[in-house]
Amino acid sequence: MAYFLEYSAVGIAAGGVYALIALGIVVIFKSSQTFNFAAGEMMTMSAYMFYTAAVTFSFGIYLGLIAALVGSVLVALVIERFALRPMAGRPYIAIVMVTFGIGSIMRGIMAMIWGANELQIPAILARDPVWIGELFIPGKTARAFAIAVIIVLSLITFLRYSRAGVALRAAAADQITAYSMGIDVRKIVAFAWGIAAITGGISGILMANVNSLTPHLGVVALNVLSVVILGGMNSIGGVLVAGLIIGWLEAVTGLFLGTEFREITPYILVLLVLLFRPTGLFGGKEVERI
């Protein structure tokens, strides 16, 4: 039982980073109905930029972090401007494929710049463990969780209590109409990509702190897709809950079923949930009339 609790705590903590990555995907989706399959590559590139700034150019951690995030935002804006803006109004399948293409471009570029080597990035999270009563939570995991949850919660609050949330959804639903109501759609979409770059960047750097930095860092983004769907594509709050659920589920799956099942349990859960709620746990029902 003690172990069950410990696994649960560790799993939930790991889920924080899932939620953070998923948040970036959802924000973009909310703004432009674009499902970003390049999220993994964006994360990875941020971590590489952090490495370059902090290690290669010896900026140190803080400046390096700022430089990496600025770099990530710039990359995101370029992607939005040149690859996705021209796709406005196209079928979502085509847009999904564009993000696949961007992923491919980014992988190639990263390989050209940074090679295939693993790199060790400077530690940004303290290691000393955190105790919750009897429960021992590894320091990095706990701190990564705290950072992730704080960011997610502040974004939720911001989007709920400012008009930005409505503007995002308006832009996604119907660009022309959004324009007709004075919403600067381009700015909104760019804003969403910027947010996604920052959340993705931070999660990439957090992850590189746990693993070493490799070109494959981004493959976790595939798992995060299940988080996004479980939460309900356009529910930012749902993403947080779903991230924690999936993190927890993976940990206890390892405990009860064997670790190899971790790879598919999130997807089985998602399939089951979709059976009963076709738009995820917290996704709004699709509005349709004829």
């Binding site: 409505v166 959804r169 308006a170 660009q175 109409t177 324009y179 007709s180």
Partner: protein, 250 residues
Amino acid sequence: MAAALEIQNLEVVYQGVIQALAGISLQVPEGSIVALLGANGAGKTTTLKAISGFLPLENGRVTSGSIRIGGDNIAKLAPHTIVRRGTFHVREGRHVFTDMTVEENLVASTFAQRSPRSRKEAFDEVYTFFPILSQRRHQPAGFLSGGEQQMLAIGRALVADPKIILLDEPSLGLAPLIVKDIFEIIARINREKKVSMLLVEQNASIALKYASYGYVLETGRVALEGTTSDLGKNDDIQKLYLGVDTDEIA
């Protein structure tokens, strides 16, 4: 009286080849309602889109001519800037945000709001004009009936406090009583708030009643213009738009 809106020799081409407007000129004097009539495909909607800056979004382009609002040429401005400067386009076919609630639809419109009045005040005004929207305010707009959606579309314009409203077929799908109500509301807004209107309407009889001046488009050109009382007496108008001979159908 100064012109709130003035268009000169406007030409518009879609997709680089389809000429939709072949040089039209028109004026909306400050504080007046001007009607724009014409058959399907004549270019009425295109004219409005040119004014509100939507053409580039639909692969269309103004190839020559000028559009002045309050004296400024706005031809190069982005659509959201044009709205924020006070020209609100209520588009043909409602275009409400279906999965946002009625109230959120109104909130979205506050991005174009020019006056300092509070959001609540603006919304209340809309709800007074259209009480049914007030009952539905927390329902997704997609579930509204066709006419209710039309009301919401006009309501959004009210929230923005524009100087000019471009109305594209506001009566489409509305019950007769509501049509009259809506036109009363339009007239009231025009009167009380000094909002100028450019009105596209298939229902010519009512358009001519509420407007003071009218233009008739025919394949991208102004075929006819004049005060509404003159137009009402024109034979062609009578035949095509006001129409009488119903007995021949049955």
